[in-house]
Symmetry: C2
Subunit: 231 residues, 2 copies
């Protein structure tokens, strides 16, 4: 029987690549997505298709309300910035307070219920160097916490491992790795602020997330088949 | 201006005592409760009254769905055990997977939004020695994680402190401490499995939580004014 893994799956480029890597590594995967008051819940539709395509054992969508507290352009009534230079070592306005801590906590609960000790998260410390909860030291500390936090850890059943296969890759390298592992990026989604027209999703092309994606595809010399506004 | 603190407030005996201590310590308090698919949401009504009584600056109720994963008598369709001997160093069936990790993650998000660095949680390592996420080593590791996880930590604005004023107290000592700090325990709630009759809450008197409460009051030589079934 394959080892079980929880894979955090947003439906974006990074988490989809992480799922492909988990599958390639031989895990039986349990995908976990969040309905968390995103400006658009389209990405959940992408996540469902992707989970299906990679044959996950189960796909749970947890509803959480990050709008309760506000404090981010992704969950509150703050405009998503466009055409900004992507600054290194500055925390972007799209940072959601404690988001990855909350996401990993839910993944840990799910892992404990299904009996998994492996959690995959597609964080990246290169392109998103401004996000505190994408850094290796954060992940390492969460890994320690996970074992202390749970019945599994206390009863010495095992130690949790937080897998971050993308943490040190550039966007170009992530795309190349994904393609090697069978990812069709046309079913992934990256835009923070997409437009819906005739049931089609059009990416803005100008938010940080679109810009990083487009630069990644360009550097990899691969065409991005998503639809973009003004292109 | 007083320093701000987030206080996790379930409406139970422990968290109410923690709030009283936070107030006595001079913090401006932001109470945080969860609607998380408890068998009964009565405790939220208790939490509201208590928050008001202690003059908190704000009281947020975050809706989270711990039933998504199941795995506990408190959130799933598993019976709450009655009249059991309370076992030390065994994890009770009422343990909710990763619950305090999830609760503290939300408290951290709230803290980051309001600019607080202090979080109070009424965990207890004596009466609840079976819960992995009530242990001091869990709390210490979460404290480290909090600073790594957040913009506040990265920008060197400060370090998070998780206050656990009850962690080493017996239930008797918690009750005595609460009374010294002005807690009226008749507005708190402990039962895992209460009965509602004529808009009144009747505690079962037989679940672990009721038993610990009753033993605590008895040891303190104080009368518990809650209504109990069969008493």
């Amino acid at each position: 029987m394959n080892k079980k893994a929880i894979v955090l799956l947003s439906g974006g480029l990074d988490s989809t690549t992480a799922l492909a890597i988990a599958k390639k590594s031989g895990f039986e995967n349990y995908a976990l997505s969040f309905a968390y008051g995103q400006r658009h819940e389209i990405e959940l539709q992408f996540a469902k298709k992707i989970a299906e395509k990679f044959g996950v054992k189960e796909h749970k969508i947890a509803t959480i309300d990050l709008r309760t507290f506000g404090g981010s352009a992704l969950t509150a009534e703050i405009a998503v910035p466009k055409n900004q230079e992507i600054l290194q070592n500055r925390i972007p306005i799209t940072y959601v307070p404690a988001r990855n801590t909350i996401f990993l906590s839910y993944a840990l609960a799910y892992a404990e219920v299904v009996g998994a000790f492996d959690i995959f998260i597609g964080v990246n410390a290169i392109d998103y160097s401004g996000y505190p909860d994408c850094r290796p030291e954060f992940i390492e500390t969460f890994e320690k916490l996970a074992t202390l936090a749970t019945a599994a850890g206390v009863e010495n059943k095992g130690h949790f491992k937080i897998h971050t296969p993308l943490i040190k890759l550039s966007k170009k390298e992530i795309i190349e790795e994904g393609i090697r592992n069978g990812v069709d990026y046309s079913i992934t989604h990256s835009c923070y602020d997409p437009i819906i027209e005739d049931n089609k999703v059009i990416s803005c092309g100008k938010c940080d997330s679109c810009k990083l994606r487009l630069e990644g595809f360009k550097a990899a010399g691969i065409e991005d088949n998503l639809m973009y506004k003004n292109f």
